[in-house]
């Protein structure tokens, strides 16, 4: 399976993250699955005219490829000209290249939240770069390719959202496609592969005991649950960050900071400071997915009253101050 990769209004972090693939080195993993890059801006030898010839051949249908991966927001400005990113050497807006290549691709993958939804500019008042995603304007279908776009393989844009994406989300989606095919049933309502987006970040959260008892962190570094005070959206964010884990052992929650829901459309402008939880009458807005508010409030009151001292004290310290007690045999 042949993959053609382009980058535009993004930070390149999804490619950098992809290079962290484990346990097998990225290129070995892909080659083993019969997946190769036709061209990748950060990784291929071909430069300048050689690279342009490859892209031109792909765009004109003279060279076959299967998957178009685009990394970075589509920049349509200033004033619709696309000049915020003219692809080097070609003098043409990158948005033109994406439109031409998407028309030839069997499948189109949006790599990262910028590409899927439009990135920080699209969520800034006035959208200074006139940015959009491949098939979304933040959370509204549309974007560069339009609501009705379907690639030759029969799917709309596959949104591998995340900021950045986990290397496994990209590699596993490519391998799923290569070996089993990919259908609409494999994607959620906004085009994200279910293989990572059917879970919530909350699942497998290492702070789960603190969540159960609503034992909340109060300041940066505290071990407690980050939902009540420090802006955590893990109970609403679709991704498997705490079961798949990052860089060998990590996740945002393990790193001591809130999930900012970076796989969700519009995460860039939450309407409050990222590391603070907005509240009405002391109750956090944005309660867990699928949970009626009254239940949550009742449950929270109950569990707070039942919190063991160990959990309450550890929640507001940056290291464990009370260990779980050890019972003697037979007691």
């Amino acid at each position: 399976m042949k993959v053609l990769w382009l980058q535009s209004g993004g930070c390149g972090g999804c490619t950098q993250s992809l290079l962290c693939h484990e346990p097998r080195a990225l290129f070995d993993e892909l080659a083993g699955a019969g997946i190769e890059f036709v061209w990748h801006p950060a990784l291929s030898l071909a430069s300048g005219d050689e690279a342009l010839a490859i892209l031109e051949d792909c765009a004109e249908g003279r060279r076959e490829f299967d998957v178009l991966c685009v990394e970075g927001a589509m920049l349509r400005g200033p004033r619709g000209s696309g000049r915020f990113h003219l692809m080097a050497g070609s003098g043409k807006p990158l948005t033109d290249w994406v439109q031409r290549l998407a028309a030839r691709a069997q499948w189109v993958f949006a790599i990262g939240s910028c590409t899927a939804w439009g990135g920080f500019s699209a969520s800034t008042p006035g959208n200074p770069l006139e940015a959009c995603g491949l098939q979304y304007d933040v959370d509204t279908p549309g974007g560069l390719l339009g609501k009705g776009f379907v690639s030759a393989g029969g799917l709309p844009v596959v949104n591998i959202a995340g900021c950045p994406t986990h290397p496994g989300w990209i590699v596993d989606t490519l391998e799923k496609l290569a070996f089993d095919g990919l259908t609409a049933k494999d994607l959620d309502e906004v085009g994200r592969p279910l293989l990572y987006a059917e879970q919530l970040v909350h699942h497998g959260c290492p702070r789960n005991e603190f969540y159960e008892f609503k034992a909340s962190a109060e300041k940066q570094g505290d071990l407690g649950c980050l939902m009540e005070n420090l802006g955590c959206k893990g109970t609403q964010a679709h991704a498997d960050c705490n079961t798949r884990v990052w860089n060998g052992s990590g996740s945002c929650l393990k790193g001591g900071f809130a999930c900012i829901a970076c796989t969700e459309p519009g995460f860039e402008a939450p309407g409050h400071a990222f590391q603070e939880t907005p509240k009405v009458a002391g109750i956090p807005l944005g309660l867990p997915t699928d949970m009626p508010k009254a239940w949550f409030v009742a449950l929270a009151a109950l569990s707070k009253s039942a919190t063991p001292k160990r959990v309450r004290d550890n929640a507001v310290a940056d290291h464990m101050v009370i260990r779980p007690s050890v019972k003697k045999a037979g007691k």
């Binding site: 930070c11 972090g13 080195a25 950060a42 990784l43 996740s251 393990k254």
Partner: protein, 473 residues
């Protein structure tokens, strides 16, 4: 005179276009460096709460993500008047060093070395061996390197949750307090990476690199040594890359890890860094403002139809002068004898920039081992940082690619101005208001290019390890 365009100039971070004027002999008479992508982060930050910068700025760059976080955290810490506790400083230093060293090595293996595998070098005594190891994506060195890199980034899994784009670096320290069990794992990961470097990259103990004090001694050391850095030295020596790619031989560093001092290096002398001498102008950028302004008063307003502009990058200058930044700058300012010798003999060059990165890798891993051992689980990692409603501050740090500065102004609890000068903004700056070309533009003049020329230009451009997405923040 003939003009050629080298783009897309790939295997750099981001998109890059270079336009070259060639004389009759096929040599470069003038170069113009165009950063063709605009990111607009300085606009995106205005109006946000200052602490939101910690979420936003790492997303400027996927390869210098932690460096951007560190600069913002430092600016916010200055604004709050807080100094992180020792554990917080150590943890954040470890995370930044992990990124910086990984960047040096990603540059070497993935971006820089594949050019020596080009067919243009067929028949050179070193070419077959280098092609076998470094051919893009399939070379025998690439897989083991990527695996070692992924394992090394395991440090960030423990210390910062993940890489890139962590929120662990806070003004008051680190949001992640290392446990005693994790500290053992950090030290094990460092040992594992040291083994890769000593066995595969250097073919020698890390500490022995510091004993090499001259270019001649370096070449003698490399002779017949079965490792990748010596392989580079053999190819570079054959091509004379120690004499190619000189810019202005003036260098800036803001100082790194309390190991490498801040300063300005020119004419074999180090002078103190005076931040008041830093200015930026937008003469050649599609932005308003031809006047050189200090970044604390800087502006970023789009002027897409500006005549004679050719890039989205501004031109930072130090006291009006063109300066280079990066690992070479840090090593020269720190008085590293090997790099001082190379500069005295040949001036700045492709080889000097690569050697400086490798020397830095060998120098900093032992430091990282010391920092990890010095972590005291149970002691605080983070202090509260109360931000004032209004104020101005600066965060200056060293990213892998050199000096990174964030100039922050807060008014009534919101960001009023946020100006950033990234390392590649210095190195790949365009002509300034007085017409002086930037460092790379100067480094390319006189080199062969165009039809039939060796890929010398490719080596010079990549020797700076450009990060274009930072450049055009």
């Amino acid at each position: 005179m003939k003009r050629i365009q080298l783009g897309p100039f790939n295997r750099v971070e981001g998109d890059l276009d270079i336009s070259l004027d060639l004389d009759e002999a096929g040599q470069i008479a003038a170069a113009r460096v165009n950063s063709p992508l605009f990111r607009g982060f300085e606009q995106i930050l205005v109006g946000r709460k200052p602490e939101d910068a910690l979420v936003i700025v790492p997303r400027i760059c996927g390869i210098c993500s932690v460096a951007q976080s560190a600069a913002a955290a430092k600016a916010l810490a200055a604004l709050a008047g807080v100094t992180p506790p020792p554990n917080g400083l150590l943890a954040n230093k470890l995370v930044l060093a992990t990124e910086n060293l990984a960047d040096h090595l990603t540059h070497f293996h993935v971006f820089f070395m594949p050019d020596f595998a080009r067919a243009a070098y067929a028949g050179r005594p070193w070419q077959a061996a280098i092609a076998e190891r470094f051919k893009a994506q399939v070379g025998a060195a690439i897989g083991p390197f990527l695996q070692a890199r992924a394992r090394f980034f395991g440090l960030t899994g423990f210390l910062a949750g993940r890489w890139p784009h962590s929120l662990a670096l806070q003004p008051g320290g680190s949001s992640k307090a290392t446990t005693a069990a994790e500290r053992i794992r950090l030290l094990a990961l460092l040992r594992e990476f040291r083994a890769f470097l000593e066995n595969v990259l250097f073919g020698a103990p890390l500490e022995s690199l510091g004993e090499i004090t001259s270019f001649d001694a370096l070449n003698a050391w490399a002779q017949g040594r079965n490792a990748d850095f010596p392989r580079f030295l053999a190819a570079a020596g054959d091509l004379g890359l120690e004499r190619i790619g000189r810019a202005t031989d003036r260098f800036v560093s803001y100082g790194a890890y309390e190991v490498f001092p801040a300063g300005i290096f020119s004419e074999s002398a180090v002078n103190a860094l005076e931040t008041a001498k830093i200015t930026e102008d937008a003469r050649s950028a599609w932005l308003y403002g031809d006047e050189a302004l200090p970044p604390a008063a800087g502006e970023t307003r789009i002027d897409a139809d500006k005549p004679d502009a050719y890039t989205w990058c501004k031109a930072p200058r130090y006291g009006g002068q063109v300066v280079e930044t990066g690992a070479l700058a840090r090593q020269l300012i720190a008085g590293q004898p090997l790099l001082r010798d190379m500069l005295a003999r040949f001036g700045g060059s492709v080889s000097a920039r690569i050697v400086a990165r490798m020397i830095e890798v060998a120098r900093i891993i032992p430091e990282m081992e010391t920092w990890a051992r010095a972590l005291i689980p149970g002691d605080p990692f983070c202090l509260p940082a109360e931000l004032p409603e209004s104020g101005q501050s600066v965060g200056l740090i060293e990213a892998a690619r050199g000096s990174l500065g964030h100039w922050l102004s807060v008014k009534r609890g919101r960001i009023e101005r946020y100006q950033i000068i990234a390392p590649t903004t210095w190195n790949f700056s365009p002509r300034d208001a007085t017409g002086q070309p930037g460092p790379l533009e100067q480094a390319l003049v006189g080199l062969p290019a165009g039809e039939g020329a060796l890929p010398t230009v490719q080596h010079v451009v990549r020797s700076f390890d450009p990060c274009m997405v930072c450049t055009v923040h």
